[in-house]
Point group: C2
Chain length 340, copies 2
């Protein structure tokens, strides 16, 4: 048993392949009788049109590409859930590419997609990306791109992000209100939009509360968790006056937690930690860890929705279509903090 093609099916039916093609696609110019007959025999022979032939003919691939830094972060898993759902609703297929936060990998992947393999792209930028020539090229080729979460602001596309500035502000304010005065801030990479905007929020909140900004309290993470752990521990040792940590990303919140445990620092009494997280686990298992949860699933869905709108209407994605969704601060330990 092998794949049945249109011609074979037409032969079996005693019809021309064009007729069969039309019948299969419910063309109005085919009589109901033959349409039904065609469909019945097609079902019987398990006929499925070859997607690649249609694609070649129609210049429509019915597939989108999703480029992500990683998948070991729950945020992106949830985002894909949303993306895949919207894709399936629209009859689209989803190609997935991981860059492991490497700019080189991102370039390589972009090149694959320069060939017309996909009708559109959803992109969360790698932290290692420096230039954006590879993305400009895709845009120039007319491939619609929607950026989400980690976006490059120079590239003029629609973006779907969370309220990074606002949540950075809120997080910091949460700690300040709980009595913290020396709040450390941990970020992933200076070049990442999410990091810089959260940092801005952090600084603004400090300023609003008349707490001086101290550059020594800002730590940039690396790709290695072990290294991050060491650095955080060193910072906490060197600066025993630190009474709060705002981690701009889940991994760093966990490493902070771990560092405190290692150093025997009590959470949340001696130190208060707040960090982004999309793992229910974190909030469940560590009530002391105040978390900020991003609507990852909704972000995926919205990004996909904007992309499909552009694809089906043959319009470019415009920065004006950008969306900013709200994060949610979940402070299970807030009472404890306030009580102090």
């Amino acid at each position: 048993m092998s794949f049945v093609n249109l011609k074979q099916l037409a032969g079996e039916l005693g019809l021309a392949s064009s007729t069969v093609s039309r019948a299969m696609r419910d063309s109005y110019e085919i009589s109901t009788a033959t349409r039904e007959r065609v469909k019945s025999v097609a079902r019987q022979l398990n006929y499925q049109p070859n997607p690649y032939a249609s694609c070649l003919r129609n210049n429509v691939t019915k597939t989108i590409g999703v480029i992500l830094p990683q998948l070991d972060n729950h945020f992106f898993s949830l985002a894909i859930n949303g993306i895949e759902e919207v894709a399936q609703q629209n009859g689209y297929h989803v190609l997935i590419y991981l860059t492991h936060d490497s700019g080189e990998q991102e370039k390589a992947v972009s090149k694959y997609l320069t060939s017309g393999r996909v009708d559109g792209i959803l992109l969360a930028l790698a932290s290692g990306t420096r230039g954006i020539g590879h993305l400009e090229k895709l845009k120039l080729l007319g491939v619609p791109i929607v950026q989400f979460d980690r976006v490059n602001e120079t590239l003029r596309t629609a973006t779907v992000t969370t309220d990074d500035y606002a949540s950075g502000y809120q997080a910091t304010e949460h700690l300040l209100r709980a009595g913290c005065r020396k709040v450390a801030h941990l970020l992933v990479s200076e070049s990442l939009s999410i990091s810089s905007r959260r940092l801005q929020g952090y600084r603004a909140a400090l300023a609003a509360h008349h707490v001086p900004f101290d550059a020594d309290l800002v730590l940039t993470g690396t790709a290695s968790n072990d290294e991050n752990l060491r650095r955080i521990a060193r910072l906490l040792t060197q600066r025993p006056d630190i009474d709060g940590i705002f981690a701009s990303v889940e991994r760093l919140a966990l490493s902070s937690y771990q560092a405190c445990q290692q150093l025997g620092i009590a959470i949340p009494d001696a130190i208060k930690i707040i960090g982004f997280s999309n793992m229910e686990t974190a909030t469940l298992l560590a009530p002391a860890l105040t978390t900020i949860t991003q609507p990852a699933y909704a972000i995926g869905k919205e990004a996909a929705r904007i992309l499909f709108q552009a694809i089906t209407k043959h319009k470019p994605v415009l920065p004006a279509q950008s969306l900013e969704l709200k994060s949610e601060l979940i402070a299970r330990a807030s009472t404890a903090c306030a009580a102090r």
Copy 2:
């Protein structure tokens, strides 16, 4: 600017498209001089061969399909990491489909792939799958399938799993050795291979330690976390003699943890919990929760490796190529347990 095709490139070069095609594919019958010239101009014009045309011509899609129940479980995210890596190494593209554990969705997805869209399939079975006709059809069509993690044993394909029986045994034994006598077991779905094999391990360990099996201590979960939480709490209330819980899956371990917290039961003193988990978070944040970690990343890689072997050698995947990898028991609280 739009896509450049072979013909245009050939025109630019003053060569026949066949020559250019050969040059691009490093054919031995092309002189080094023209090959270099072709490649240089190709680079300059951003020529990328249209993958769908090649596919039509060669009958090779260079893409695989990955069918998964969900992605809200860290196990599958890690597995995709492995799969994607091996795919990229082999120059392959990865299409992803989520079934949300629905048998209907799995059937629909299978149908998409009946059209020659992919060269092979990696599959983790939906818990809602009843018949396997849709998979048999794919096999009959000659599409290689490798099953991983959640496998159907009737379908004769290679499988990559973990030592579910052994780890179920170990987990149970771990609790028994820590002094537990009434060990509850929480499983996902009776029809799932991982569940039934872990259950077998559980029963065997009980038997080996002369602890009678009590069917009332076995609870099957639902799709709803809230419902699971309620059921677990009810079980713990009705059976205050329970002194240990073996959760066969992360979500259920977390729900157990939560249920104990709600009921004010101390962990790990009053009750000991052991559960599968691939979240570093869980072990990090809840030392009281003994976890069994599956080598998810390796499973993805191995499954992909077996699939690519079959694809490149045009051989069917045989059950004989199946692999069983080892899980790891991480008992941070084991000392506490043993001390009791």
